[in-house]
Symmetry: C2
Subunit: 413 residues, 2 copies
């Protein structure tokens, strides 16, 4: 069977917005054993949209369309779907009451434009949107089963998981093969070196496919197994994981697709330990990452984001002498910051970052990308200097934050 993806919207067509939805939908479909032949993107133009749907209907067995289901005048996908199927738009009572309930539960009044969202092509099956106002729908056009979902990524993702993938699996079940993916998350090697260390994989495991995916600053090693015998695919993948583990060792921080902060959080919880931190150049990003994990209040106590030297001294007890003698960006300061954070919050562990995220502030001695990381724990404190320069301030902050968490992971492990 052939599946296609259509992303709609002038924002994507004109390049104002990068289309990340199509990649998500494609990888979900591929993981479900459905090959994606094409992605297409067109703007908010009724005739162009209608023509694109017609073309896809003539080529594909299934298609996922994102965007253009909202309440405003430039949301034209539903009307285009009705035209492509030569049917009219009719009020869907379930869709209307869903939209109403969304507003009522938030104490808001529904505007007249939201009623438009409950008008679906005749013959369409509504797809509930539990996290937004725009319901989706599925509709047959020719021999192709279309799924229409909103363009807002989290709404689209939720509806793909809840409704679209189950419907595709039940409709095209007999044509699919089992596809299993195993993800090993690594940190600390460039993508090219990771690839070189895994050279020979394809000949060692001819039945499997290896993919590297840069999820900055992590590199995910993905192993794909396909076949009709689920148990055999599982055994082959387990052997391949062992093979990869031998070659990448402790660069692998998770074998379940966890983020670094989730992996570190699990280690802290398993050790009954708590964490405090002092962030200068990471500017709160480590705390933000840690507190994105639900339940992190079990082990995360405190972060002091100390940009000014005054805050480093006042809140963390860093000595003025150290700051003067070695500078704010130094192993010595990082050590005192880590100790200070640990003591301020009475935590098992304290970690600290001080460095230069750029683009300004670098010197010949301490260029942009320099970061000193301190880790204080029950057995004392240590600090280390790194130079990790990437093309933007945000990337530098991110790689500094993950390097600090990776240091804590190794100290905990």
């Amino acid at each position: 069977m052939i599946a296609e993806i259509l992303a709609t919207g002038d924002e994507i067509r004109s390049g104002a917005l990068v289309d990340s939805n199509s990649a998500h939908i494609a990888s979900e479909l591929e993981a479900a054993g459905v090959a994606v032949a094409r992605h297409l993107c067109v703007g908010d133009d009724l005739n162009v949209l209608t023509a694109a749907l017609g073309e896809i209907a003539g080529r594909a067995h299934a298609a996922v369309v994102t965007g253009g289901l909202g309440p405003t005048e430039d949301d034209l996908t539903t009307e285009a779907a009705a035209r492509a199927a030569c049917v009219s738009l009719v009020l869907n009572e379930t869709a209307l009451s869903d939209v109403e309930a969304f507003f009522t539960s938030r104490g808001l009044e529904m505007g007249p434009s939201n009623r438009k969202q409950a008008m679906l092509p005749e013959g369409a099956t509504m797809i509930a949107n539990p996290v937004g106002t725009a319901p989706g729908f599925s509709l047959e056009v020719g021999d192709c089963l279309f799924f229409f979902v909103p363009g807002v990524p989290f709404e689209m993702k939720r509806m793909m998981a809840d409704a679209v993938l189950p419907a595709i699996k039940s409709r095209f079940g007999k044509d699919r093969e089992t596809v299993r993916v195993k993800t090993l998350s690594t940190f600390g090697l460039p993508e090219s070196v990771t690839g070189e260390k895994l050279a020979g994989f394809e000949s060692a495991f001819p039945g499997l496919k290896l993919g590297l995916r840069a999820k900055f600053p992590e590199i995910q090693v993905k192993l794909y197994g396909t076949g009709r015998d689920e148990a055999a695919v599982g055994d082959l993948l387990a052997a391949a994981v062992g093979w990869v583990r031998e070659r990448l060792g402790d660069k692998i921080f998770s074998e379940t697709g966890q983020s670094m902060e989730e992996a570190v959080g699990d280690l802290l919880r398993r050790n009954g330990a708590t964490l405090a931190m002092a962030e200068s150049c990471t500017g709160g990003l480590i705390a933000h990452k840690m507190t994105n994990v639900s339940g992190s209040s079990d082990y995360f106590l405190f972060s002091a984001v100390t940009y000014s030297n005054e805050a480093k001294m006042g809140v963390l007890g860093v000595s003025e002498k150290t700051l003067k003698q070695y500078g704010a960006v130094s192993e010595e300061t990082a050590r005192e910051m880590a100790v200070g954070a640990r003591q301020a919050a009475d935590a098992t562990w304290g970690i600290a970052t001080t460095g230069i995220a750029g683009p300004d502030g670098g010197t010949p001695d301490k260029p942009v990308g320099t970061v000193c990381i301190g880790i204080a724990g029950p057995d004392g404190v240590k600090a280390k200097r790194f130079v990790l320069s990437f093309p933007s301030r945000r990337m530098n902050k991110t790689v500094f934050a993950v390097t600090a968490l990776d240091g804590l992971r190794r100290a905990l492990g």
Copy 2:
């Protein structure tokens, strides 16, 4: 004239990689006055590639194709281009010496597979690649002028700027129109309400186009003007901005496409003011956002991310009595946190967040989404409670953070 974009490669087709090239190419073409009608993506398959090029040649006047120019076996774009144009591949001497020079200058030996990269379709014009091994080329197929560039983003960007855009401008100069976009960033109204408030725009400004873009939790109002008379387009846009301003008022926080943290940072700098904050439920996100802005050390001093009550008392001086009597999530605690952060860092302003980001921790009195925001400044302190519940912890953290910054913006304004 009609332009299209074709992104090639199994990584993009299968969703392993998000295609950010198409957005870059589209926005560059649009800025040059060339309307992009479609983006298409297909995988590394010679027949599919050839067919896609043929389709585009039948529809468009110009097209940019990325990817598949490398040395390996799955790099098939050049061969597909030759087939679509019904010509053979011939060795391009300039391309060969460029590839050789690339290797020589790096002290490397050229592999035999790199010779393949110097084979171009007969009649093609080579496009030099100053930053990589794969030369690009332009080629007429039917009435369409194709530009083939590599898929590596920085090579593609360089060749777009150096060669593709100049060639398109000189070839299609007379057909191009000025395109100008004006972006008004708003916060505080749902997309549907924003759209309703702007109903009537199209009839008031028939020459312009209005688009709303949800960039959670902001809504951007985009005004697009197209025409041959640049000054007239500018005047029309200026009038339209005034019209929108009247309807959205102080929900607009930027008219230059700034993020909330950039807008607040500018206000702080203009006022010669500094900022400290105390974050509970936002977990460092406000500090992370503020410190993403280069130069933020001019006004950002300190954030205390205090998850535990001990840290709220010890670092911020929140009284135990307040925590016991009103609870950690209360206007009273938010007020004391804001004052404490301001005093700890000797800042002009202190802001504080305490709330329940979820998914757990909600109560009937204080459901998930409850947040109390405190703002302390030269004229005293105030606090306000909001209930802003979204489907995920991250979204709640984000909307809490932007609500706090929006409160500071209004206090500063």
